[in-house]
Symmetry: C2
């Protein structure tokens, strides 16, 4: 359609719109243009052409186009200059989003169109939220997931490390204190394999792998820096967030986060792996009441999907269903976990952490043809080569290779939580533990968190320390302790079955609760 072309005067708003391409126009001129809020306009200035989403405002100067910095950046028009504005056609992808809304399976080219418009910022938050909600409710077929992954990779940056094969490891997360990656990557690379690991920061958990590693060295590397680290060490432990790998995924996460839903779990993970050219991937699926996946059955179903998608993408995938009923190791919170991981590489690790690490590394080794992978992993850990390798990586990423566990400082405000009864630890509530650590300040305060003294099955006598809370703020510590008393995250009993009441409904309120999702 021709639309109502109009010349409007540019007003620079001087702020960003969170990456969105938004313009502001007064309601009278909006109606003259024939547009409503959320409609798209095409702005033309010299050679530049920008599609932006209109925000119709009252009391905004007439005959004026307010532009946020994202639009200004592309348009290059200055304050007061005249630009041409017209209603833009609705993107074709919107029709496919409506189809998905109605439950129709989308075809690959349709999905490609949606993902391209997502990356081009042609879709509003409202439209993205509706699409993500539809995917959550109607589900995603294998064909759709494959198309989503390919489109996400094609619309983003990819890295070729010039080495082959590329190994990788991923956990779908949900278990606090899971610093396994800090052991697996050095073990695998110490064996001469290439494993360029990118990780996320915590969004809703007390610590993401990137937060843990950042205690030891910078993680915010560019693709070039990352490549040279991998060149030197066969490995890296970096933050994936700024690498522009599968940028569509990062944009989806922005709308998934407030909704606390994660319908794109598989495409999100697989697209990041594909973008760095992974050939062999071990996917850790922790299963347990307090984990993301509750039952072994669910875990198997998810594993089948990972494997099937891997086949479609020429990736060899091995899934590991791991015990997720309690935190891994004793430490929860970036600094506490980095310290525990370093100790583990130095030979003093908790049995579950070490066992999980050598098992996952072992699976990768066996995928590469090693007979007893776990044994090989144990040997490498024992020999100290893994520790040496981690220190190489720390150095290559710009950290202090000689860092010692005692150098890592943790919160100086502490409280010990003691047992009021005797018996054995019957359960540990993962989510409650995570929230206590977050309340203490993790992940923002690197030194904040929880250090367990007892784990499942451990003997406890009255007055024993169950766990210790670390913080840097007396106020945060106090509120964390209050939360701990309220949540009572550790269940102790004399004989199993002696204490059958696990929870009550209405349950005690967990303030500010958010499911652990979106942690990659």
């Amino acid at each position: 359609m021709v639309g109502w072309v109009m010349k409007l005067r540019v007003k620079l708003l001087g702020i960003r719109a969170g990456g969105k391409q938004i313009i502001v126009v007064d309601d009278e001129y909006a109606s003259r243009l024939g547009i409503h809020s959320s409609d798209r306009v095409e702005i033309t200035y010299k050679q530049q052409n920008v599609i932006a989403i209109a925000n119709v405002a009252t009391d905004f100067p007439k005959k004026t186009l307010g532009i946020y910095e994202e639009v200004q950046h592309k348009l290059k028009a200055q304050e007061g200059e005249m630009v041409q504005v017209r209603p833009a056609e609705r993107p074709e992808s919107l029709g496919y989003i409506r189809d998905k809304l109605s439950g129709r399976r989308l075809r690959a080219p349709e999905i490609k169109m949606i993902i391209m418009d997502v990356v081009e910022r042609h879709l509003s938050d409202i439209e993205l939220a509706s699409f993500v909600t539809s995917l959550y409710i109607h589900g995603t077929s294998m064909d759709e997931a494959e198309a989503l992954i390919k489109a996400m990779v094609e619309t983003g940056r990819t890295i070729d490390f010039g080495k082959s094969p590329i190994l990788d490891k991923h956990s779908i997360g949900g278990v606090p204190g899971d610093k396994t990656t800090l052991l697996v990557v050095p073990i695998v690379s110490a064996a001469g394999f290439t494993i360029p690991k990118t990780s996320s920061r915590a969004i809703t958990s007390p610590a993401g792998t990137a937060d843990r590693v950042e205690v030891l060295c910078p993680v915010d590397l560019t693709c070039e820096e990352m490549s040279s680290v991998v060149e030197k060490t066969n490995a890296c432990l970096t933050w994936g967030g700024a690498l522009d790998l599968a940028p569509a995924d990062d944009l989806f996460i922005q709308v998934e986060y407030p909704l606390s839903i994660d319908p794109l779990l598989l495409p999100s993970i697989m697209s990041k792996k594909k973008a760095i050219g992974a050939d062999y991937v071990v996917v850790d699926i922790p299963a347990g009441r307090g984990a993301k996946i509750k039952t072994i059955g669910e875990a198997h179903a998810l594993a089948q999907e990972f494997i099937e998608l891997g086949k479609r993408l020429d990736m060899h995938i091995q899934c590991a269903v791991t015990f997720g009923e309690q935190p891994i190791g004793y430490a929860i919170g970036p600094a506490l976990e980095a310290k525990e991981a370093l100790l583990a590489l130095m030979g003093e690790g908790p049995i579950d952490l070490v066992n999980k690490a050598v098992s996952l590394a072992g699976l990768l080794f066996e995928m590469m043809g090693v007979n007893d992978g776990t044994q090989k992993a144990k040997d490498i850990l024992k020999s100290g080569e893994a520790e040496k390798k981690l220190r190489e990586i720390i150095a290559a990423q710009g950290g202090d290779p000689d860092v010692q566990p005692e150098d890592i400082d943790v919160g100086n405000e502490t409280v010990e939580i003691r047992s009021e009864e005797k018996g054995r630890v019957q359960w540990i509530n993962n989510r409650a533990m995570a929230q206590i650590a977050r309340e203490a300040g993790a992940p923002k305060n690197r030194g904040a968190g929880v250090l367990l003294s007892k784990k499942l099955g451990d003997k406890v006598t009255k007055g024993d320390i169950l766990y210790k809370i670390f913080s840097r703020s007396a106020q945060k510590l106090e509120s964390s302790v209050l939360l701990a008393e309220n949540l009572n995250p550790i269940g102790i009993t004399g004989k199993f079955g002696e204490k059958m009441l696990i929870d009550r409904i209405p349950t005690k309120k967990i303030s500010h609760e958010k499911p652990f999702i979106l942690e990659r």
Copy 2:
């Protein structure tokens, strides 16, 4: 949770955020506060406490809180002043929105909580879009619809006209040229009944009732002005948009519009009726291929829901399924339609328009105990009392009561579309006609639109005028004619059955297409 309380310096952004309560904070301080984009913050300044949604921006001044005018309006803080900011708890209603997402039926108090948070602006567009999408996919039960309506009414303004009973009329719309309300309201009020009619402006159609009436008199009345018009004339024909009746509905429409979905159709209509205290309502459900409701079956199902909801709300509802296969009358576009309606009240109306008007008015009369309502309506129309009444209403609303049809000016740029074949009109494509009228400039240009010369079943010889397009812009006229040639909205055939191909797939592209929804 305690959260990270922080003092930040106010920066007035000086623009509105479309009614939303949004603040902007730099990413470093966001992370210090422990919040991400879309999280809520609680801002405290003197006695004021405001919950706003955070927009995390890069390159934003540090230690600064950017506030849009909506927040400024409530907070009353000035540029440079320090305010206290802390993360706010997620609203409880968000949990219920997630429940709906998962397909659970919501209970009345839960729905009330959601609607209150919608009106309080505690929910983001992302959350609203997800809720609306969930309602669209999972559907709404009668109990939910009832709760939605009651909550929408309770959270908005209501009007008591001090008269009883209150009659009302509503069309779910979807048929172009439907100016029936301009006849029904005068006919009913001429009979001494009270019918305070509020209508909407066109969003996606060529004309809404408010647009048509505005050609004759102002429609943008306050509640007080509206009451005094009703006091004087027993009726009114006003725009409902600014009356703050069921404001939650207006907010839902803002997210439904870009998605082109309308899951709240019934609650939306019923809440507006309830807010003005309607006791007897006739609901017009046009059925036809090009209408919102395609089949008689659908129409009956919808009618049952209206009637059931009416019972729950002490409203007597009568539904009329009307013929929606072609435009009503010959005129499409605000001025052309106002002219046709005025002519009809003066005794020169097209048969279908007159028949529809007297039928609907007749149904209302019969609900009030009249024996042959349609006959009574015809008599009133014939007697000229209805015309007299419309002129009273026009005068009371501030228009010229002596306006004559020829005074109403229509677009001076015109083109006649002629038939290339002989036969009879077999079909008229409603949506195509509406788009041709919109392309010509309707509803924005009051005088733009389409005037049909032929309707279903009419004899046509080669070269006959099928319809005439009116515009005020040669450019718009031209693009409208191009669209008309492309869409070919009128099907002509010698014998029925002689021309069976109605459409082809892939169909011809209808640019900028949007389903007709959200027209109230």
